[in-house]
Symmetry: C2
Subunit: 525 residues, 2 copies
Amino acid sequence: MKDETKSADEIFKEFKEHSITEFFRRNSQMLGYAGKVRSLTTIVHEYVTNSLDAAEEAGILPEIEVKVKELGENRYSVYVKDNGPGIPSKVVGKALASVLTGTKFHRYMQQRGQQGIGAGGCTIFALITTGKGIHVKSGTGKEAYECDLSIDIKGNKPLINNLTTIANTFRGLVVEGEFGDVKYEKSEHGVYEYVRRTALTNPHTTIKLVEPDGNEAVFPRSAQTLPKKPKEINPHPLGISTSDLLDFARASQSRKVTSFLVESFARVSQDKVKELASLVKDVDFEKDPKELTWSDSEKIVNGFKQVKWIAPDLDSLSTVGEKQIEVAMQNILDPKFISVVERKPKVFKGGIPFVVEVGIAYGGKAGRANGETVAGSILRFANKVPLLFDTGSCAITEAVNGIEWRRYSIARFEEEPVSVLVNVSSVYIPYSGVGKQAIAQEDEIIEEIKLAVMETGRKLQRYLSGERQRNVQESGYKTIMRYVSQLSADLEEITGKKKEETEKELRSLIERKYKNLFNEAQNES
Amino acid sequence: MKDETKSADEIFKEFKEHSITEFFRRNSQMLGYAGKVRSLTTIVHEYVTNSLDAAEEAGILPEIEVKVKELGENRYSVYVKDNGPGIPSKVVGKALASVLTGTKFHRYMQQRGQQGIGAGGCTIFALITTGKGIHVKSGTGKEAYECDLSIDIKGNKPLINNLTTIANTFRGLVVEGEFGDVKYEKSEHGVYEYVRRTALTNPHTTIKLVEPDGNEAVFPRSAQTLPKKPKEINPHPLGISTSDLLDFARASQSRKVTSFLVESFARVSQDKVKELASLVKDVDFEKDPKELTWSDSEKIVNGFKQVKWIAPDLDSLSTVGEKQIEVAMQNILDPKFISVVERKPKVFKGGIPFVVEVGIAYGGKAGRANGETVAGSILRFANKVPLLFDTGSCAITEAVNGIEWRRYSIARFEEEPVSVLVNVSSVYIPYSGVGKQAIAQEDEIIEEIKLAVMETGRKLQRYLSGERQRNVQESGYKTIMRYVSQLSADLEEITGKKKEETEKELRSLIERKYKNLFNEAQNES
């Protein structure tokens, strides 16, 4: 054993630091690069979400073209072109070839991207699977250029090569790269399904996919106007944490706590601050916010919880919209029943507003094929972005599976032709992983999704029980009709009245009584 | 619309960079801090795994004490003490109060930690929930000291305060911190269950848990020797990627590709290199490895796949061991049937060896309570560390649910008293997230787990079908016995022979015939 032992100095002599790029290079599965099919979808996902964000922020109706070409075994090229604002050459490197850099990280504004990792991650993945960086073409109106981008992994620094200006007529962004260890597959985790679902919740977008086999799938926009632009907002006082408050205080320019609170948070008026001050003893609201201590901050945060606040401003959130979800589900699923609900915005920790939209469809093409049978399916979206992976660890899955479906006339969710679409919109989605494929299971969010699903569920329940009753009546009707002829014959013996006449009278009698039902039955068939 | 539009320059003027600490501070759920119960378990998990790794590397039988105290609503203190080598004061800051720093990131050696994020993450979480850093006490034999640790979030730099030397008699490490937004709960996701499962797969460890209610749970070591120390190894050529090979080449001191290959990879001999060279045309094996191009590297990697290699050295892997798993499951589940299998080491991408161990238990306390009924349960471990979260996205779950249980006489896994324990050991576990609660769904790993489970499943099947047959015989036996008395009476009338005698004879006859069965039946009851 002696020689086996090691001192702390020996153990820690190898102590090293690593760059975030090295980390993700070694753990690319954490960015969503696990499995060949998923990896390809992740690449398309990162570029398409960036294109949508940029176009919308620039006020342009997005037009996106995605081309996937097979180059060899598990080797494909991905080409994504948009009509957005482009990227200035001075930041293109940091934007597409480094991580933890970007415009979105610090903003309280609803966008699809929020971490500044996605695009850089694609470049890292290209490098480790093909040794090649990516090629970019950009036109901002002011300038137009092409270049090759790579990354200095150790330093998380972008490398720009062959930067050449091009005709200033080009407007938008083209990103093109070669990737190994990927595979194109038309499965529910594949690129096609990702694009299809993106079109479903982004009706203002025209998106075209050219598949490796040359097939062109075009999803034209069904809405001709941009969704209302989400406002950049201040955080709502409800649920904000002590440490958040101190951060804002340190960053604040205000000279007094009072003005700091009014200026930094949503729904905080002078009156509200007065009310707050009366509740929060022994904190000096006249002092410099920078002098707030942790315990001051703690007291104020507790005070927040006792004041009655107006719900956060819905303008900070951009939803798909009830009408649009209904149309989209109708087109795709052609179900017998649809119910859609958009809830009021709620707040979760950090004072961050979020909204849940739910659409439920039953019958028709609803549900998903499960061998011979059909099973209930959950369509998950966050800020209108489809979530195709990590189903098990997602708040949406947790919420939908937590529903007592029996209450809504669904014996087993796993065995009925039902589709539940859930879209969570927020200025900050708490993703469970860097790959952004699942929403962390925050109680407040799960609860809100459940309430929304239950709301649609009640409507579904009414529809289904109606259905059942009708089926009962209908089969009753058919049974009677089956005996009419025999009955009439028997009556002839008893009453001497001609069978044909009796039968005719009986039929008309029954049809009068069951008229509506009969018509419905007709329409059905 | 005009005023709505924005130019690229306007959009990108807010372009910012962020430190990795800022990122995890804002996305702490990615480190496992989502939900109050889970957050508390994550803290204990990070400190306990560090303690185990350090003690084992130092060659010390681990003794760990965990104390959790309730300080207020959702506010607890966590205290973890070990008898390990301690941490030198010159690196303690980086070790416990920064991320992406550590001794483990670059090593091909099986350890529980591998990212250099866990402990720093705890300090970040303490800061954002209580504003306080952590307190550390360390004795390495050379020095002993106490200090307070915090982090400069913007710079990912550790802050050390009140560093004071203490009596050099203390040996080991004590980490103590206060955390908010956490909750102690005795659920299957709680600290108690985490410690219990840690004891299950770490028989050489004595671990004591003092719960908030003062209750002391001690799990004494059942093995008096350390597990064989895993060797630090070179990567195995099978499955290594082109970019990995180039990395090693650039770092290599060798002057020729030939010697580089022999020195950098496991199982590569001069002869193997010759064989390889004969397969890989137009790559100069005599040149400086630093001159290898991507396409050279690609050719060599493809060559690797055509050569027959010896499996990687099991010495690089430290398993729990079949015997130990059986004992542990016996103690905890007291089942009617157990089967355990340890597979041969396999390799997955990156030339990284891994081993799967599976134990299956049926009956007794096996399975998990599911309302009134019992359901099949999966006990997941990676490098002997229990995985309690993100069940849905884990390769182990995927593999076990992918088994056709009917084949093994399990009608529905969800409805039988069966427990499946799976431990995956590797120098590098591809975790799906930074929180390290699920193994990424790599095909090679899922496949290997399936094979292991099926191996135990076949034994279970034999047991269960035997059981069924016996039940049939047994009930047959009981039925006959039920009629013996009446039959004897009837026979008396026919044969005149006394009922008592006949009955005696019949009974002994039957008992002879059903002897074994009868005994078993006795033992059962």
